[in-house]
Symmetry: C2
Subunit: 158 residues, 2 copies
C-alpha cells in the first residue's frame, strides 16, 4: 500500500506555517510510527497498546489497571479489553491488589516475558527505521525532550 522505502520526500505542504505546529508534527510522527510498530508487532499477535500493557506487566512495577489507564491515556474499559486478551493468551494474569482489594495488579507470565522479549527486539529495529534521519544523539535528545514535556524536568535519574 504505502511507500515502503526509507526515503521520505519533503511534501510541498510542509512549507506552510502548520509545518511548525507541534500538534500536527506529533500526530504525523505518531501516525507513521504506529503503522510501522503495529506491522512489526503483528508477528507476535500484539499491537502497540497490548505491547505497552505487556511491557508494564513485565516491568516489576506491579501496575494496577487504573494506573495503566492513566499512564497510557486510555479509558479504564479499554484496559479491561486489552488485559482480557492478554490473559486469555496466557501472557499476563490478574492478581489481587495488595493494599486495595478492588484493584487488580497485572503481572506477566513466563510466556508473557518470552513473547515480550522477542517483540521488543523487533520493535527496536522498527524504531530505528522510523528515526533513521536522526543521529544517535538526536534520538536521545528527542526522547529527553518528550519526557520533559510530559513530566517536567527529568524523571528520577537512577
Amino acid at each position: 500500500m504505502g511507500p515502503q522505502s526509507t526515503e521520505m520526500e519533503i511534501p510541498r505542504l510542509a512549507a506552510a506555517k502548520i509545518g511548525n505546529d507541534v500538534g500536527l508534527l506529533l500526530a504525523k510522527l505518531h501516525a507513521t510510527g504506529s503503522l510501522l510498530n503495529n506491522k512489526a508487532l503483528a508477528d507476535y499477535g500484539l499491537r502497540e497498546r497490548s505491547f505497552s500493557v505487556l511491557t508494564l506487566a513485565c516491568s516489576g512495577l506491579e501496575p494496577t489497571q487504573r494506573e495503566l489507564a492513566d499512564f497510557l491515556s486510555l479509558d479504564p474499559s479499554q484496559v479491561v479489553s486489552l488485559v482480557d486478551d492478554l490473559e486469555h493468551r496466557g501472557l499476563v494474569t490478574r492478581a489481587q491488589g495488595k493494599q486495595d482489594r478492588r484493584a487488580k495488579i497485572i503481572v506477566s507470565t513466563a510466556e508473557g516475558r518470552r513473547i515480550h522479549n522477542k517483540a521488543r527486539a523487533g520493535l527496536e529495529e522498527c524504531e530505528q527505521t522510523q528515526l533513521a534521519a536522526l543521529t544517535e544523539d538526536e534520538n536521545a535528545q528527542l526522547r529527553a525532550l518528550l519526557k520533559k514535556a510530559l513530566w517536567g524536568s527529568e524523571p528520577t535519574r537512577r
Copy 2:
C-alpha cells in the same frame, strides 16, 4: 473532570523501560495535546483536524484534497467530510484544479481567514501551556527534531 492544574506529577510507571519508548511518548504527548487543542478550538467550532485543513487552505499553497490527505495522514474520504463541513460554514471553497480537472483545490474565504487567525491565537497559547516545561530553546529543538524525523534534514530554510 480531569486535572486542570499546570502541575504534572511524574507517574510511578514512568520508571519502566517503556518510559523510553518513543512510540509511547509520542502517543502520550499527542493525546494530551489533542485534548487541550480541541478544547481551545471548540470556541470556534473547530477541531484539530478541521483547523489543519483550514490552515492549509489559508496558506496560499492551494492544496488539493489528495495532498491534504497525504500530508495529514488521513483517508481521502475523511478529507471530504472535513472540507464539506468547512465549506458549509463558508470558511473554504472547492476550486477546480488548474492542471487537473479531477482535483479540487481548497482555498479559504475571507471569513475562513478571519476565524483562522482568531483560532490560531488561541492555539498558540494552548501550545505554550502544553510545553510549559520546556525552555524556548528546547521548544524549538523539539520542533526541529520532529521535522527532521519526518522529512529528513531540514526543510527549505528561509
